[in-house]
């Protein structure tokens, strides 16, 4: 790998641009999709069949071997949007960072959502409906609501249900969640759609402490991402 190609790969990642590193085996000729698939950069243009496979690999976030080329997608990090700068959110941060998530904590209560309490993550002080509209969760985004406060959680869940987020979880007991479903139903969400919300949030590991709750939530997010059965 040339330092120049590595720099281009890093620049794409810094710009949150999905690309694929394509390596011809075994001689190691390399190109970046889609940059080097364009006719403009003919010097090291990718064969059309490899470019097509690279597009599919990036979309599926899956490695491919096609016509002797190793296609390695480098997608932007998965995103985790946490609503509520609460204790459990703090506990989730180091785990989520280690798992490679880009994290944003959303909480309009400025006293809670401080850089001191939430080191190293993006903080959004907007109300969740505005925050969600700006952050535009996609299929590589997980959303967790933790405030217990319907004023804050409900608009976040309303927006989450209208997004293709791969994970939606809401803290709260079964009773709290039943009431929540009633309110969200009044906003026009069908029961099947609301079944996407995982509540009580997290894998059932009988979590008690904030750290254990954080662990159960992060474990469930990984399980959903990897297609594991979670017993719900």
């Amino acid at each position: 790998m040339t330092p120049e190609l590595l720099a281009r790969l890093q620049a794409a990642q810094g710009a949150l641009r999905p690309v694929a590193l394509c390596t011809r085996l075994p001689d190691g000729a390399q190109a970046i999709f889609p940059d080097d698939a364009l006719p403009a950069s003919v010097a090291n243009a990718l064969p059309a069949s490899v470019a097509d496979a690279a597009r599919a690999a990036v979309d599926a976030d899956r490695i491919a071997l096609v016509d002797g080329w190793f296609i390695h997608p480098h997608n932007p990090p998965l995103r985790l949007l946490i609503v509520g700068a609460v204790h459990a959110a703090q506990a989730m941060l180091p785990m989520a960072q280690g798992l490679g998530f880009a994290i944003t904590v959303i909480d309009p209560r400025r006293a809670f959502a401080t850089q001191e309490r939430l080191p190293g993550v993006a903080i959004n002080h907007e109300w969740p409906d505005d925050a969600m509209a700006a952050l535009r969760p996609d299929s590589r985004t997980a959303i967790v609501t933790l405030t217990h406060d319907p004023k804050i959680d409900d608009p976040a869940l309303d927006a989450a249900l209208r997004s293709p987020a791969f994970y939606i979880g809401a803290l709260g007991s079964r009773r709290t969640h039943a009431k929540r479903l009633e309110r969200l139903g009044e906003l026009g969400h069908a029961a099947e759609a609301m079944a996407r919300i995982r509540a009580p949030v997290g894998l059932d590991i009988k979590a008690v402490t904030a750290a254990e709750i954080g662990l159960s939530i992060m474990a469930e997010i990984v399980a959903v991402r990897r297609g594991a059965s979670t017993g719900r």
């Binding site: 590595l6 790969l9 390596t23 085996l25 075994p26 071997l65 190793f70």
Partner: protein, 104 residues
């Protein structure tokens, strides 16, 4: 995590070290790390990441010395039918192929 490894590799090189990057390109059976996993090594003895559960990193690091010296990439096969793999202890029963290249 791979992304962090590329950043680390760039930093080692900027520090004047020779760097090799190993990437799992294909796996068969129960190999512990999926395709795309990376392991980086420098001539100063720095190592980061993994291409297995620790079974073959030593052998990859040895092979990396050649790639760092010549600049030529290598495609390495490890598996239970491979005597080298037994020597370095790939006991999990899986097979994997690793692409090894120099950063430079």
């Amino acid at each position: 995590m791979s992304d962090d490894l590329l950043t680390t590799a760039a930093a080692w090189r900027a520090n004047g070290e020779q760097v090799a990057i190993a990437t799992v390109v294909e796996t068969w059976g129960s190999s512990p790390r999926p395709a795309g996993s990376r392991f980086i090594v420098s001539d100063a003895g720095h190592m980061a990441g993994s291409v297995s559960g620790g079974c073959i990193e030593g052998a990859v690091a040895q092979a990396a010395a050649t790639t760092m010296a010549t600049g030529a990439p290598q495609l390495l096969d490890f598996g239970i039918s491979d005597e080298t793999a037994w020597e370095v202890g790939l006991a999990c029963g899986g097979k994997l192929q690793v692409f090894l290249e120099k950063l430079g």
